[in-house]
Every structure is written in C-alpha cells, then in structure tokens.
C-alpha cells in the first residue's frame, strides 16, 4: 500500500522510492501489443556497387513502387534492396523486370522475411529491425503508458484511494461490483453505485453511476447554477465529433475549467471489475475520459472480449487501465450468487 512518506522527498527521488504503488496497466490497441513481428516474404536483390543505389531507387519508384502497406520498410539495407512482396509479383516477372529496367542489380534474386506491419513502439521497433530496417516514430504518451510511467506518485495514490471507495461501497452493500465517477480536476466524487442487476437487468454498477451523474447535472442545470444551456437540444449521443479529446481518448488532459459539465466529459470512472459490452458502450456515449478497473472478466469489453474503448469507428474513445487493486477487487467475487 502507498504511504505518505514519499510526499516529503524531493520529486526526483520519489519515483524510485519503495512505496510507489504499482501502476495499473494500460489496455491499448492490438497494434501496440504484439511482441514478435508478423513476417512476410519479399524479393531482395543486391546492387553491383553502392553508387548505383540512387539511380536504382529512382527507377524502382516507377516500375515497382512500394505498396502503402509496406511503407514502414526502409527499402535499402547495405547493398540490398527490397523489390516487392513475393505475393505481389511472380519470380519470373520480377527477374524480367530486373534485366530490362534495373541494369545495376545483380541477377540473383533472394527472398527475405521482413516485418509485415509497422512497429508502433520502441520494443516492437527493436524486434522488427532484427529482420529488416524499419521506419519508426515513437509516440511519447504511448511509450510512457507501456512503461507504466504515465502517472506520478500522487496520481497513483489517488487512484488507489478512489478504487478503495468502490471496494468499500461493494462490501457495504454486499454487491459483487461497484463503480465510482470522479472529477479528476477537483478530486470530487460525482457518483457511487453498486450492481443491482437482479432488480433490473440494465442496473449494472456503471449504468447506475451514469444515471446518478445525469441526476446531479439535471439538478445543477435546473437550479440555474450552471448557466442556461437549453435541455431540449440535439442529442449528445448521436453527435459526430472530431474534437481532440475524443480523438486521443484522454491521452492529453481534458477540457478546461471554463466549460459546463457535459455528460461525463473529463470524468474518470473506477469500477471493481471489467465492464461488459453494454457498460463499455454506455461510457462511450457518456464521453468518459478514463476507466480504471480491478480484475478482468470473461465478458469484459475493455480488453477481454474486445477493446471497445479504442474502436476507431466510434465518435469517442477513452483510455482504459486494468489491474488496479486487482486482489482486493477479486475478493468481491464472494458476493456473486
């Protein structure tokens, strides 16, 4: 467990201290997750002399342009040049092209296994370049997410505090699941709910939390505390959005203080177990910023069955983190019946 001792140390020393809680694990798109690059065969030929690389490359641009799907490959390695994927052209045609249009290539044609997809992380790049040199542009937030260095100690401690609220709510009501919605800018608890699906099939803890957030906002708007935005506007859930927050799914910090609350924009949800498809989609509709959960579930939609929070076709995406206080959350399974 976290202690407050780290708070007295200068920032630089905090990270290495032993009381840093473990970071929850980011659930990212599959493209960030592979550890061994899928491979594909390509034809490779050598140039007679390196001084011919430039002219050969120029000719290749017109006679054998690289498909977009192979754009991650560097075409040249030493004196070797990638001609084309084996699947895209027959060996005979390739040799014919070489003899008619590419005079500086040696006439022997080799095949070579190269990465079939672009490396998206440093680790993937390291793996991929063992086969063939690849283009790679690291994305800093992704690297920090993968390394478990996305949050500082204060954030990690706050996360555990918030999940503890959920765990306690579940224990108090003897429910197998509980969820908490937090406004991270103020650290305020916006809603707490436990699973009540035996009374109503849609009353999962997450859905009830969203209901309570809506209730709070109805009261605030009704009492005129939050300006006079009309209630009868066009629906949020159906509005196509291209704004930054939804596109990056909360990698950067969310909206400023000047904005009126709008559904769960800028809010984080903590739930003791992985949400099902219904709840995960309800969180998309509600435009939540981040979701933290304790243990994974077989029917879970944030990593187990699918990764609904990162579906590109949807108008909002959010970040999901798993295994926050996994052990404590798992003990709630005792309330399952």
């Amino acid at each position: 467990m976290a202690t407050d001792a780290a708070g007295d140390l200068p920032p630089a020393k905090r990270l290495k201290s032993s009381c840093v809680p473990p970071s929850p694990i980011a659930v990212l798109e599959d493209e960030y997750c592979w550890t061994h690059a899928p491979l594909v065969d390509v034809y490779v030929a050598k140039v007679g002399h390196k001084s011919f690389i430039g002219s050969t490359m120029n000719t290749l641009k017109t006679v054998l342009p690289m498909a977009d799907s192979m754009a991650h490959l560097k075409r040249v390695r030493g004196d070797e040049i990638v001609l084309a994927p084996v699947a895209s052209i027959s060996r005979d045609d390739c040799i014919r092209l070489m003899s008619s249009r590419l005079p500086h290539l040696q006439p022997t044609l080799a095949t070579c296994q190269v990465p079939a997809v672009a490396p998206k992380t440093r680790a993937q790049h390291l793996d991929a370049t063992a086969y063939w040199p690849c283009n790679f542009h690291p994305v800093k937030p992704i690297e920090r997410l993968l390394a478990g260095e996305f949050f500082d100690v204060e954030e990690l401690q706050a996360q555990r505090r918030r999940m503890q609220l959920a765990v306690e709510a579940a224990r108090e009501k003897q429910s197998p699941v509980a969820a908490v919605v937090i406004n991270p800018r103020t650290d305020a608890v916006v809603a707490v709910a436990v699973d009540e699906r035996r009374q109503n099939p849609s009353h999962h803890a997450v859905m009830l939390c969203l209901e309570k957030v809506a209730e709070v906002q109805r009261i605030l708007f009704r009492d005129g505390k939050l300006g006079s935005r009309p209630a009868g506007g066009l629906a949020a859930e159906a509005q196509p959005s291209v704004d930054d927050d939804s596109a990056d799914g909360g990698v950067r910090s969310s909206s400023g203080d000047d904005e009126l609350p709008y559904l769960c924009t800028g809010f984080d949800l903590y739930v003791t177990r992985e949400p099902c498809i219904m709840c995960a989609m309800a969180l998309v509709h509600s435009r939540v910023r981040r979701v933290f959960y304790g243990c994974c579930t077989e029917q879970g939609a944030l990593g187990s069955k699918c990764k609904l929070h990162r579906q590109r076709q949807l108008n909002h995406r959010y970040l999901a983190f798993k295994k926050l206080m996994e052990e404590e959350c798992r003990t709630l399974e005792a309330f399952d019946s």
């Binding site: 099939p201 969203l210 809506a214 506007g233 066009l234 949020a236 859930e237 704004d243 709840c279 435009r287």
Partner: protein, 160 residues
C-alpha cells in the same frame, strides 16, 4: 409488420419534436404491445436513455416475471440498436429484433460491430423495414446543430 413499424416511426417523430434523436420502439409479447418508448437523452441528460432501454425499464417495473416475458418478446425499432442496447437485448435472450435503417455511428447488429457472437443466445434479426422513413427522420435531426455539445476543438498543429 410495416404497420407496427409505422407506429414506431410515430414515436420517433414525437422524439424529434422534443429535440431528441428520433428513434422509436415497441416491445411485442404474444403479438401485443407491452411497452413503447423513444429516446429522451437530452431531457434526462443521460446518454444511455435510448428507446429500447426505456421500454425494458417499463416492462421490469410492471412485471415480476420480466425475465421470462423478455425471453419471448419481439423488439421493433426504427433504427438498428446501438452496441449498448444490442448488448442489453442479447443478454436478455430477446429472440427477435426488427429494425428500420442502419446505425452507421453506433450500430451493434453489424454496422459498427456485430456483438451477437459474444452472447450465448440466438436472435432472429430483420433489417430494413421502412428504412427510408426512419433515415429521413434521422437526417432531419442531423441537419440541425447540437446546442448541448461542447464547442468543437479545431485541430491545431502541435508545436514541437
């Protein structure tokens, strides 16, 4: 079935007049309407208040044996259920869904995802009943602008 769908379209039209996404829905049990509903997301400030969910709440409120009833209920809805609603319907073993137009933004019966395989159930899904009428209603809605949505943030080039 067109007659039933026409009734759903009327419900959708009511939603539209209240400034809601025009989706209407009825639940049929032994060929009788046991619940009808429409979207009321804006009124409730709850993005999960879709027509199908509102119907289910009514049925649960009115019937102690809702589980058995729902497992023999046909859902008629003007627009393909979103992923959330489709998940709810499949988890309740709803045997039959009839819908009008596709839901390209959120559809859970194939348009964005087909989530039926994630559930251990069978569901007979009929698509396209009076789909043009349902789509026209949606288009009428989307022609307007959403005064509730936050100002769209124009993408600016990042300084490095």
């Amino acid at each position: 079935m067109e007659e039933r769908m026409r009734y759903c379209l009327e419900l959708a039209n009511v939603a539209l007049t209240f400034g809601e996404v025009p989706v209407g829905c009825i639940f049929l049990y032994k060929d009788e309407i046991i619940a009808e509903g429409r979207n009321n997301v804006n009124e409730t400030r709850n993005a999960t208040r879709h027509a199908e969910r509102n119907c289910i709440d009514l049925i649960v409120e009115r019937n102690e044996n809702w589980k058995e009833i729902l497992a023999e209920t046909t859902v008629v809805v003007t627009v393909e259920p979103c992923i959330m609603c489709a998940a709810l319907l499949h988890s309740l073993n709803i045997p039959k869904i009839i819908y009008g137009c596709n839901n390209d933004r959120f559809g859970g019966c194939g348009s964005v995802m087909n989530i039926l395989p994630f559930y251990n159930t069978v569901c007979d899904i009929t698509r396209g009943v009076l789909k043009d009428e349902a789509m026209t209603l949606l288009q009428t809605f989307y022609k307007g602008t959403n005064p509730n949505a936050p100002a769209s943030k124009v993408k600016t080039k990042k300084k490095k």
